[in-house]
């Protein structure tokens, strides 16, 4: 049974939208980070689907790099969130507003 390309693309688009909305409307920095990861994974799905349907390996190559980058970003992002938590004892991005004049 072959699943049509469009379904993968639709799933990718839906996941990407969920991730985007999460970044825009969530207040917890960790949840925002998770939403970003969701966006990246939605793109990975899209890339793999395209790559598979066209029989061209370049898309999957990019997915490898994208996975590695997502891991590096998660590591750096969590380190920054921990540093914020140490000084402010909150990860609510609405309360992290030192520069608001």
């Amino acid at each position: 049974m072959e699943v049509a390309l469009n379904w993968y693309l639709a799933l990718g688009a839906v996941l990407f939208s969920i991730g985007t909305l999460g970044v825009l409307f969530k207040r917890n920095a960790i949840v925002v980070l998770m939403s970003v990861e969701l966006m990246l994974n939605a793109v990975n799905l899209t890339l793999v689907a395209f790559s598979q349907s066209m029989g061209d390996p370049d898309g999957q190559l990019l997915v490898f790099f994208s996975i590695a980058v997502a891991a590096a970003e998660a590591a750096v992002g969590l380190a920054i969130v921990i540093a914020i938590f140490r000084s402010k004892v909150t990860v609510d991005i609405n309360e992290i507003n030192l520069f608001k004049h």
Partner: protein
């Protein structure tokens, strides 16, 4: 067989990424040294040496024929060498400026300089990429290192907050960027820039997919170069980050990102449909940057808005889209890098710690030119150049981006640009006024009382600033030749474009 030949081809291509290899190997050595002794004083100079070797190599590559290496993943030749040279010089200047600054803050860890090296490697890859995969890897190598560098001073709330904003918004834009790549890939079936332009977007759906991808891709890129309306992170991040590193972020990363964007526009995007989009973005960017800069009391924040404005000037050239305009943008990137690193370098020498740089007002620096004449004079050069006054590089840079735009029929855009440059005179020249002419008697006492006078000025930092200032004057004399050389990159590469790609 074929696979065996692939590796020998790759070995033969190694000179194409010589500077990348040198910088990354030296970076790894620096990290190894830092593992044993993090504050070893030789680490930054090791990095400087590595980058000097790499820039010497790139200097000789300026005249080479354009082409591709590593099966079309990397672009070699004059254009790539120019961007790489720019990035490397910015890296050298930043490393030298950072040493006394971070030492004063007691944060002179070797890892910082190693991260600077890795960010530079990412930028080199970005500026010489010929495929979407290279662009993505380069951009992310650069960005992830810069997120860490922004939050370097963990004890300072502002620095960490800057890092968090930079990270969250940067990662968010990465998502758009990558989705754009995915859609463009799906529509054209290739990751290689020249092949993308030749792809047959047979169906209406394919065309829609492609331009949706381009839109998302551009959002990601405009985010990285802090063009309005994607500039919201810039003032906070630039104000909170360690000052010399802010200079690096605002120059080298923009140079590399713009360099890569020019490659994409030139090679991959077939029609001229992006002209109007980029023109509108350029207008918004110039207006927002200049108008917001008017009311800033903190010099770093003012410079952040000014860097948004300068991204707008470069976007004018990109909107024009001719070879002369791209060459002008390259020259502008060179001038902008020198003057902005210089301006941030001066500010770095006028503050005791990172927190002070964040809260320091311009008025508290009244009459500082008398106390620190070298810093005062170089700052005058940088400010006049940023405004675009004739004897300095900034004027010729503006001319180089605006003249081709007029030729391309974007006179209205150039008019707005010139008008906004005039507005920018107010806030740049105010710095000159405060530095030299404002009465300093009452603030000097306050400075003495709170911090025991001004921070010491290191010879090396001063040397870098003087070199930057002299360079800006020299660029004025050589602007014609430099722009002509930059145009040459495109004439020759246009011929090579058909042969490039995978």
């Amino acid at each position: 067989m074929e696979l065996a030949r692939a590796f020998s081809t790759m070995a033969a291509d190694l000179p194409a990424i010589f500077s990348m290899i040198v910088v990354s190997v030296v970076g790894l050595v620096m990290l190894t040294v830092a593992a044993f002794r993090s504050d070893h004083p030789s680490i930054p100079w090791l990095g400087v040496a590595g980058m000097v070797v790499a820039s010497a190599w790139e200097l000789f590559q300026l005249g080479t024929e354009p082409g591709t290496a590593f099966f079309g993943a990397i672009r070699v030749g004059g254009y790539a060498a120019f961007i790489n040279l720019l990035v490397l010089l910015a890296g050298i200047a930043t490393t030298i400026l950072s040493v006394p600054y971070l030492h004063r803050l007691k944060h002179d860890y070797g890892e910082v300089y190693a991260l600077l090296m890795y960010a530079t490697v990412g930028m080199i890859l970005l500026g010489s990429s010929n495929s979407m995969v290279s662009i993505f890897v380069g951009l992310e190598t650069m960005s992830v290192c810069l997120y860490v560098l922004a939050g370097l001073i963990r004890e300072d709330e502002g620095a960490v907050e800057a890092a968090l904003k930079y990270f969250l918004l940067g990662a968010f834009s990465t998502g758009f960027f990558l989705y754009g790549i995915a859609l463009m890939y799906g529509a054209t079936g290739t990751m290689y820039l020249p092949a993308m332009a030749q792809a047959d977007l047979a169906t209406a759906g394919g065309t829609l997919l492609f331009w949706a991808g381009v839109a998302l891709f551009l959002i990601g890129f405009l985010f990285k170069v802090s063009a309005a309306p994607f500039h919201m992170w810039t003032p906070d991040v630039y104000q909170g980050s360690p000052t010399p590193l802010t200079g690096y972020m605002s120059t080298a990363s923009k140079a590399a990102a713009f360099g890569s964007l020019i490659l994409v526009l030139y090679y991959a995007l077939p029609a001229e449909r992006w002209t109007l989009v980029l023109a509108v973005v350029a207008v918004i960017t110039m207006v927002v940057g200049n108008v917001m800069a008017l009311s800033q009391a903190n010099v770093k924040r003012m410079l952040a808005y000014s860097s948004i404005a300068h991204a707008g000037y470069i976007l004018v050239a990109l909107a024009a889209g001719t070879e002369a305009a791209f060459a002008g943008a390259l020259f502008y990137l060179l001038v902008y890098t020198v003057m902005n690193i210089g301006a941030f370098g001066v500010m770095a020498l006028l503050e005791w710690d990172g927190r002070e740089g964040r809260v320091q007002t311009l008025d508290s620096l009244a009459g500082i030119g008398t106390d620190r004449p070298v810093l005062g004079v170089t700052m005058v050069v940088f400010m006049f150049s940023l405004t675009g006054f004739p004897p300095f590089g900034g004027f010729f840079g503006k001319y180089a981006v605006f003249a081709p735009a007029v030729d391309a029929g974007l006179t209205w855009l150039v008019l707005i640009g010139v008008l906004m440059s005039a507005v920018s005179g107010y806030y740049y020249l105010r710095v000159v006024y405060v530095f030299w002419m404002q009465d300093r008697d009452d603030v000097v006492d306050a400075r003495q009382a709170s911090l025991g006078g001004l921070p010491p000025v290191s010879r090396t930092s001063q040397g870098v600033l003087v070199v930057c200032a002299v360079g800006l004057v020299a660029m004025a004399f050589f602007s014609g030749g430099l722009i002509e050389a930059a145009t040459g990159f495109f004439d020759a590469s246009a011929m090579a474009a058909a042969g490039g790609g995978g």
